[in-house]
């Protein structure tokens, strides 16, 4: 690509190619882009007393983050080596190193998805997280309801409303449907546990007024009712008890432990925002390198600038991660 032309004596501007200058300017804009995210994260975090940091709240895996840092650094290293090889006109070597880089970025995304999977399976998603006891209890009942609903639909109970399905469930148990019977009975038992819990949760005002007052009020309202004030701890115990019950095995996989995390949603929002946009940049980098790799043996000196500039970009992606790692995983 670089056809020779006599360098004019009066060449104005910087002694670097346009493409490189453009790339650096672009990186400048990228810095501002991530500044907005990271800056917002920092100030939001400082402004939120009790930001979740414990592993049981955030399910952050430091090891995964550290390994990923290593993976990115290694891939960055391969990029510089590849660029060096290009300079030495050793194109096959360069190709090979870039292939390593590509592989490593796949690995990075793999580890990232593993982490995401962990988050998702614990339901650490924006607006999914209960931030106080009440929301946690509500979430449990909501999830139990979903389980009941889905199970009933799966077992062939027709009808839209839960009530209809319940009637169908009772009928099915009455019909004694062979092998399904135990399943049906388990479901029915589960359902009645859910009904009790949800009624309990609905009538439960213990969380919003001082308990002494609640007691007196409740006595006045429903004398003789067996409902006791519901606490998060109570619900946890209750779930533990149910989970131990062989009968319900399997039904509980959908229900998460009630676990309020103040500012959990904001945490999840910032976490996914930053890592998500970082991952997007990784993917773009992979496309840039993929285009080089597609040249196969046709790779030649003409790609040198391309590799240098995508390399710059890649190091920037690495840089962002270098900051994200301590900020998200450690501090």
């Amino acid at each position: 690509m670089s056809h020779e032309s006599p360098a004019p004596a009066l060449k104005m501007g910087l002694p670097i190619p346009n493409s490189k200058l453009g790339m650096w300017l672009f990186l400048g804009t990228e810095i501002m882009f991530f500044t907005a995210f990271i800056g917002a994260y920092l100030v939001l975090r400082i402004g939120s007393p009790g930001w979740p940091t414990k592993v049981e709240d955030t399910h952050i895996v430091v090891e995964a983050g550290a390994i990923n840092t290593f993976v990115l650094i290694l891939s960055s290293y391969f990029v510089v080596v590849a660029h060096e090889a290009m300079g030495a006109k050793n194109f096959q070597k360069a190709w090979k190193f870039l292939a390593f880089t590509f592989g490593l970025s796949c690995l990075f995304l793999g580890i990232k998805s593993y982490e995401y999977y962990g988050k998702i399976s614990h339901d650490i998603l924006p607006s999914h997280i209960a931030e106080n006891d009440e929301q946690a209890i509500n979430k449990v009942t909501r999830e139990m309801e979903d389980v009941v609903n889905a199970e009933m639909a799966r077992l062939g109970m027709e009808g839209k409303a839960l009530e209809d399905k319940r009637t169908a469930l009772q009928a099915a148990i009455g019909e004694q449907k062979g092998g399904k019977l135990s399943q049906l009975q388990a479901l029915a038992a589960f359902d009645s546990e859910f009904v009790e819990l949800s009624r309990h949760a609905r009538d439960n005002v213990a969380l919003s007024i001082p308990s002494a007052e609640f007691e007196s009020q409740r006595k006045a309202l429903t004398p003789g009712d067996k409902l006791q004030p519901l606490t998060l701890h109570g619900v946890e115990e209750y779930l533990k008890k149910l989970r131990a019950d062989k009968q319900f095995a399997g039904l509980f996989s959908e229900v998460h432990d009630p676990h309020p995390v103040p500012y959990g949603n904001l945490f999840a929002s910032t976490y996914f925002l930053m890592t998500g946009f970082h991952a997007l940049h990784v993917i773009i980098g992979m496309i840039l390198f993929g285009m080089v790799l597609m040249q196969g043996s046709k790779l030649d000196a003409g790609w040198s600038d391309w590799i240098e500039n995508s390399g710059l970009y890649w190091h920037f992606v690495d840089l962002v991660w270098i900051f994200l790692f301590p900020l998200l995983y450690i501090v």
Binding site: M12, G13, F272
Partner: protein, 609 residues
């Protein structure tokens, strides 16, 4: 896939001559639609933005209609558009009107007309390059405007239109329940802003690279015309400020679509919906938004300042007064522009100490503006003025900018801003700077560079008519807004007269509306002049204005590759009426130091190059 070899680029001749020879006639599509030629892209931007000006103006007139005749059937369009409401503007519709008016005017008119149209057209021509550094990126930057237009267009029709003003403050903009009906419209609006952001981003990186690296031999930084300086500094502003808006936009999209809670505090009950779970803070958006949008107001001004400086010097036949101070002033405006954004938030519940800091920096930004203003007046002083359309528009620019800038001082002072914030005083201020300054500058630029764009002159009579009508209409519409503001009329009110203390202002609003209609009519003169002159205007030579800068040494319109002789620059752009220039009163930047009897026609292209 390497890049343009930098070594070859300044050598425009090699390119131009070889290029022209080996050049095939481009197909219509490649030449006029998917063109990578910066001049064509510039013209595309210009025509698109002029059309958008009509759209934005029509929306403004609808706003004005409601303010003059609240709840009266809109003439003509009323029955067409919303017959079911008896042709009335509903409050929701009114909100959408001013939101889209501002969106169209800012994102689809002023920013693209300055950076997109004139940035593209002028930069390579004025620094002596054959094209932009990245022509394909340049083409993309134009074509990314269309998805944005499509998105903004769509947001008119899905739901009730975006309903939170161009500032899009959460939670009104963040929660579906807060503005029922605006639902997807707001999402499309955000998408549109993102697209226009990409477009500007590509443009600014391109401009920066081009200006830094592709100047012709001899074109040192301090020989660049002010237009280039304006574009350069604007591009810097854009490159650093815009990503923040894009980021904030993504955060708002996240809040709206993916359940994130950046701007949503907990426990907020909107429109009887369940309390939000939240955890975020609404003020964060305001900070991030204004971090971009304050620099953006200078993005909407600096290129016009640059162009006006050039035009004034040319029409006064006089060197620009204080070239270097002008450059430094621009840089200072840009630098300070980054640290004043908080002045939009004085009453928002921000930390008062922060408010003080922002107040002081805002006050300071008037300084470089002062330098600019006085230098313009200094430029006119003692000039041999050509009172043509270009000059008149430029003087209007200066005069209107003073008014707009001075009203800014009232708002920069926090205590008075407590009263003026979100009243029509603000509306008066920014129309004076945005329309009064920037658009008058653009009207001047249209006439000034028209010969270079199309090889024909625009009609002077029509041009002056347009100018006078617009000037009168403009002041008639917007000057009284200061009074409305002092009288305490809040902005974004569909029906201010509901409030007894504003009732008596209706006649005034009525007069303003008629002035606005006059101004609208005036724009047809511009359109007519533009269309007529494009095909029928008198042909002109290379340098119809006897100007100095490089673009006037190229043919009108310049061919592919711009220059038929490789420009070499020997002096600054403002050597008008120099004692060295002999009989003429100008010395082009390309003229070699010895200046005996050199005339305007350039030497024949040298084939040996």
């Amino acid at each position: 896939m390497s890049t343009i070899n930098p070594a070859s680029t300044p050598n425009a001749l090699a390119h131009a001559v070889h290029g022209e020879a080996a050049h095939h006639e481009l197909s219509f599509v490649r030449k006029y639609i998917f063109s990578t030629d910066h001049k064509m892209i510039g013209i595309q931007f210009l025509i698109t933005t002029l059309l958008m000006l009509m759209v934005g103006g029509a929306l403004a007139l609808a706003v004005r209609w409601q303010l003059a005749y609240p709840w009266k059937t809109m003439p003509i369009v009323g029955e067409l558009l919303f017959a079911q409401q008896g042709g009335q503007i509903t409050p929701e519709f009114y909100t959408m009107l001013f939101t889209m008016h501002a969106t169209v005017m800012i994102f689809l008119v002023v920013i693209p007309v300055l950076a997109g149209a004139y940035g593209n057209f002028c930069i390579p021509l004025m620094i002596g390059a054959d094209d932009m550094a990245f022509p394909t990126l340049n083409m993309l930057s134009y074509w990314f405007m269309w998805p944005a237009i499509a998105c903004f267009g769509t947001s008119f029709f899905v739901g009730g239109g975006p309903a939170s003003g161009w500032t899009s403050y959460p939670l009104l903009a963040d929660l579906y329940e807060a503005a029922p009906g605006s639902g997807w419209a707001q999402n499309f609006w955000l998408l549109g802003v993102t697209f226009i952001g990409f477009s500007s981003m590509m443009g600014s990186i391109n401009y920066l690279t081009t200006i830094i690296n592709m100047r012709a031999p001899g074109m040192t930084l301090f020989r660049m015309p002010m237009t280039i300086w304006g574009m350069f500094i604007t591009a810097i502003l854009q490159a650093f400020a815009l990503p923040v808006l894009t980021a904030a936009g993504f955060m708002q999209v996240g809040d709206r679509l993916f359940g994130t809670v950046f701007f949503i505090p907990s426990g907020v009950v909107v429109n009887n919906a369940a309390p939000t779970i939240g955890g975020g803070q609404p003020l964060l958006w305001q900070h991030l938004f204004w971090f971009y949008s304050h620099p953006a107001v200078y993005i909407m001004l600096l290129p016009a300042m640059g162009m006006v400086s050039d035009m004034l010097a040319t029409m006064c036949r006089k060197p620009l007064f204080g070239y270097k101070p002008m450059v430094y002033a621009m840089a200072a405006i840009a630098g300070l522009g980054f640290i004043v954004w908080g002045h939009h938030m004085f009453t928002s519940g921000m930390n008062p100490a922060l408010g003080m800091t922002f107040m002081i920096s805002t006050m300071m930004i008037a300084l470089p503006s002062a330098i600019k203003t006085f230098n313009w007046i200094g430029t006119i002083w003692g000039g041999n003025i050509r009172f043509n359309t270009v000059f008149l528009n430029c003087v209007a620019f200066v005069s209107m900018f003073i008014v707009g800038g001075l009203s800014g001082i009232f708002m920069a002072a926090v205590p008075t801003d407590i009263y003026f914030h979100d009243t029509y005083f603000i509306v008066a201020h920014f129309h004076y700077v945005l329309f009064g300054a920037t658009l008058f500058g653009v009207f001047g630029a249209i006439v000034y560079w028209f010969p270079k764009m199309f090889g024909r002159m625009m009609n002077e009579k029509l041009g002056k008519l347009h100018f006078v009508l617009t000037f009168i209409g403009f002041n008639g519409t917007f000057f009284p807004m200061h009074m409305l503001g002092i009288a305490g009329m809040p902005r974004r009110y569909a029906d201010p007269y509901l409030h007894p203390y504003l009732e008596h202002l209706q006649p005034m609003n009525l007069i303003m509306t008629w002035f606005a209609i006059l101004m609208g009519v005036a724009q047809f003169v511009l359109l007519a002049n533009f269309a007529y002159s494009m095909f029928l205007g008198p042909k002109c030579g290379r340098n119809p204005w006897d100007a100095n800068s490089l673009e006037w040494s190229a043919p009108s319109p310049p061919g592919h590759g711009n220059f038929d002789i490789p420009p070499v620059i020997y002096r600054g752009p403002y050597e008008f009426s120099s004692p060295l220039s002999g009989d003429k009163d100008f010395l082009m930047q390309t003229e070699p130091p010895v200046t005996d009897n050199v005339n305007d026609t350039p030497p024949e292209p040298d084939d040996t190059a």
